[in-house]
Amino acid sequence: MNRALLRAGLRWHGRHRVQTLLLILGVALGVALVVGIDIANTSADRAFRLSTTSLTGKATHRIVGDGIGISDTVFSFLRRRTGFRPSAPVVEGVLSLEGSMVRQLRLLGVDPYSEPPFRGYVGARVDAAAIVPFLTVPGSIALSSELAAELRVTPGDTLRLRRGVRSLRMPVAGILRAGDEFERRALRGMIISDIATAQEVLDLPGRLSHIDLIVARDTAATLAHLRTTLPPGVRIETAEQRSAAIGSMTDAFSLNLTALSLLALLVGMFLIYDTVSFSVVQRREQFGVLRAIGASRAQIATMVLGETLLLSSIGTIAGLALGVFLGKAALGLVTQTISDLYFTMTVTGIDVSAVSLIKGALLGLGAALTAALLPAREAMMASPAGAIRRAMLEDRIRAMLPRITMLGALLLLAGLAIVLVPQRMVALSFGAVLLVLLGTALLSPVVIRMSMSLIVRGRHLLPGVTTVMAARNIARSLSRTSLAIAALMIAVSVIVGVNTMIGSFRQTVEDWLAVTLGADVFVSVPFSGAGRNEGMPMALRDSVAAHPDVARVITARPLALQTARYGGLQLVAASDDVAKRRPYKWQRVERARIWPMLHTGGVLISEPFAWRHAIDPARDSVITLRTDTGETDFLIAGIFYDYSSDKGTVLMSDRVYRAHWRDTLVGSVAAFLHPGANVDAVVHELQRRLGATSNVLVQSNRGLRDTALAIFDRTFTITLALQLLAGIVAFIGVFSALMALQLERGREIATLRATGMSRSQLGRLILTETGLMGAVSGLLALPVGLAMALMLVHVINLRSFGWTLQLRLDPIDFVLAFAVAIAAALLAGIYPAFRFAQTDIRQALREE
């Protein structure tokens, strides 16, 4: 690269600081969003691994069941009947730290004698002096020195914890020493006890979560032998299989976040294209002169690309730093959502991997260079005779208009075609949304020309000449105006689309809660994270039923299970239907016969469950689950709408559940009151009476709905935050485009002033122009936003999570979006209007 040219280019940027800053900001914000989300996603993934995978230790396989654990007799059976030695029983679950709403600890119940080959930190590195009380004091635990320091406990102290509705006091008996960094971080969220303690604390009497195995030699033969010898109801899987299955639950969620962050980068690319393109147009004479004095086309192109690369490198570095900061902020939201919806994480911590940073840097620089390619070509094609004249550029755009329009229409149609073709690839569906956005962006020049010519034709209806002048100015500067209008249109349509999607989703969930939650009062375990399978004793149901105002009660036992055939799912065992009138997507028999069918062994599956596993009830009449009694087929009685879990829910009768699995707890009790009973008084009375002995949560129907919607809103916080940031990038893009457009008209504006236009008239002209551009963006954004909303609601959501959502169109959303477009455009016009008011007319006219 020629140094003198690069120097000239960079000095030019040094003199146009606002523009240069906008370019750097565009790259920085785009990179920051991509890196931030990537860091949040990878940190959450790593935290998940630390939360679960570290439990595996050196185990190669594990024996598991489809329900909540397996009988502890399987372990003795394994040792005695199969003669297989390298095995260790494990009971695990999550406890909450009392007094803290967020701190969660994983309890790992182990057999110290079986442990050494599996988990070093349990077997070898427990303080020797502490091992005796650890084994002899009932209910005692061991924890890492780091966790002990955080919780301010030492051996001999008692740790106060909570599980379900019970408060626990657990003596600290030993301190664990981590072998390496991975263990050290894993142990930050983990406490260890013996098997019996864990069974007692986690309400799993006589159960094990799983049995770890080390199958080192003759793997296939050993596994085959074990599989045939082990009792029914259990299966063997590899250690990685389970982690992968749990990890994959959040795939769609992560993909949605990544797509939004990439959208921000795309908007950032518009900004970069615009800034570089403007810098090229502003220097068209310079390029002409350079060509005249001997610069080759390649030298000019290299100059433009070189300076873009250098400036975007600054933006990228700033973006990486900002991304790490954003990642930290986003991680809290991401892990909160994962804990709310998928599994409780006990370890969190930011993980800034080199891969995230390199990926972000390459994307940022790549996007900047791609965006600069066209302007570089424009600069390269500068003729030494006349350089690039704006009029020539506009001529070229006008000549290309039919092709641009055709390409736009093709992209739009291709996007719509991909959306309409039934397929399950979410990434492809996002690609289709992108095509629709790009297609519409390419159609914007023709729409602008048509709408401006309408204004010009209706000029006799308009007062004064300003509006017509503004319309003509917009139409004759298509190369710039269409870009600014397209960028603003994309930003506003994303706002319309995402808001409509979230609004539709929320409305659907609200409607669904209204018909599904039929009872008046709900008594449940306080929610502190997904996948914890906490419950309360059956006796609580009787206490609720005993209240004089309670007419009848229904119990529900929701469980997060990992199954062989269906992966993660939510099983709900209910004693009856709590819904007033449950909405079904499909039903095998008439409504009145569904629950009797459930009581005799049928199940209802949720819409996402049917979607995930491609279940066609006409073809697949049963689902198969491995129960304590072995593999069992359950007849599908119907498919119901359910928004409580995107993993999919299987609803069965409590009677059937207890016949197949050993479980003595219930998750919640729903109470229907006698007519005329005072709901609040009952809630108050039950809370007072039951709360005295346990940590139950008693809520009215309204209270439970509010809690559910609060979790819903929490889930979308990050989406809204991302949308807001993408909007900011877009606004900067539009601001820079409009400002550039106005600033390059210095001479024309000076002529207008010289021929008698006052400062205020000039201000009006500029604001009319930018306002008109905002209006066109807004008008274009409304149908595109609606199309995006339709795609998000009916395609992306369905393909990501399997949910059918009812589209809710709020006119306020559309009116606001239109107002945002106009306000953003007007705001962008203020600075140029102010600048031109100060123009030295003589100087501006003298400059060529």
Binding site: A8, R11, G14, E285, V289, L290, A292, I293, A385
Partner: protein, 254 residues
């Protein structure tokens, strides 16, 4: 009458034509131009605004190409060159002085001067002494490190002349070099341009509409209605006199 092509000429034009498309119709700017400019001295291309003299100058400098005909500059057939050859030609064979100076505002005076050769891959340090010497000749050695915006119009044009000469081109092309300067400064710049061209043994081709420069020219060509014709100073003066007489007569009879 068109002059015949000459074997020893530094510049030859054979049947050169050029037209531009304007509003969809072709506008002929030059038609069948035929001429030979001898090496050395100052050749003036005279013509009114829009007569085509700048177009002709641009074609001589390789920044525009003819629609038909053949142009040779310093034994190089410019009209047959591709883009790369034209770029190299501009770097090495010609130097250009523009009406609006066209110095790069982001480079210092010295950097502006060395740029064409740097573009050609030469190191700026090797060019320094010659450029400084030329700057000294035009009285701007003390301003070599300032940016062009701090210079007056006359100073900027002097820098532009040095830039055009610094790479030792065979031909110097100047398009209305005094057109953007006041009369006194214009005259100073013109004398300097001629002096430097003669001292360095270059051939200068200058496009202008001003008659003030004619007494200093070695030969004159006029571009009128797209046709290029040789003129003498007497021809031009007589023609000017006749125009003046006619204008006075019309004013009196009006």
């Amino acid at each position: 009458m068109n002059a015949p092509a000459h074997a020893s000429a530094i510049i030859t034009l054979e049947h050169v034509s050029k037209s531009y498309s304007q509003g969809g119709t072709a506008q002929v700017v030059l038609r069948d131009c035929h001429a030979a400019f001898p090496a050395g001295g100052c050749t003036v291309l005279l013509g009114k605004s829009g007569s085509g003299k700048s177009t002709l100058l641009n074609m001589l400098g390789g920044i525009d190409t003819p629609d038909a005909g053949r142009i040779t500059v310093a034994d190089a057939e410019v009209s047959a060159m591709n883009d790369h050859a034209l770029t190299v030609f501009r770097r090495r064979t010609v130097g250009y002085v523009f009406q609006f100076f066209h110095l790069l505002p982001s480079l210092t005076v010295l950097e502006n001067i060395t740029l064409p050769q740097e573009l050609d891959g030469k190191s700026p340090s090797s060019l320094r002494s010659r450029c400084e010497e030329l700057l000294d000749r035009v009285g701007l050695a003390h301003k070599r490190d300032v940016l062009p915006e701090t210079l007056s119009g006359g100073e900027q044009q002097r820098v532009a002349i040095v830039r055009a000469l610094a790479h030792d081109p065979a031909v110097l092309l100047a398009d209305e070099p005094t057109g953007n300067l006041d009369a006194a400064t214009g005259e100073q710049v013109l004398r300097l341009l001629l002096e430097l061209t003669r001292d360095t043994g270059k051939s200068l081709v200058m496009a202008t509409h001003s008659h003030d420069v004619l007494p200093l020219a070695d030969r004159i060509f006029e571009v009128r209605d797209g046709v290029l014709s040789p003129r003498t100073l007497d021809d031009v003066l007589r023609q000017e006199q006749a125009l003046r007489e006619r204008a006075r007569h019309e004013a009196e009879t009006a």
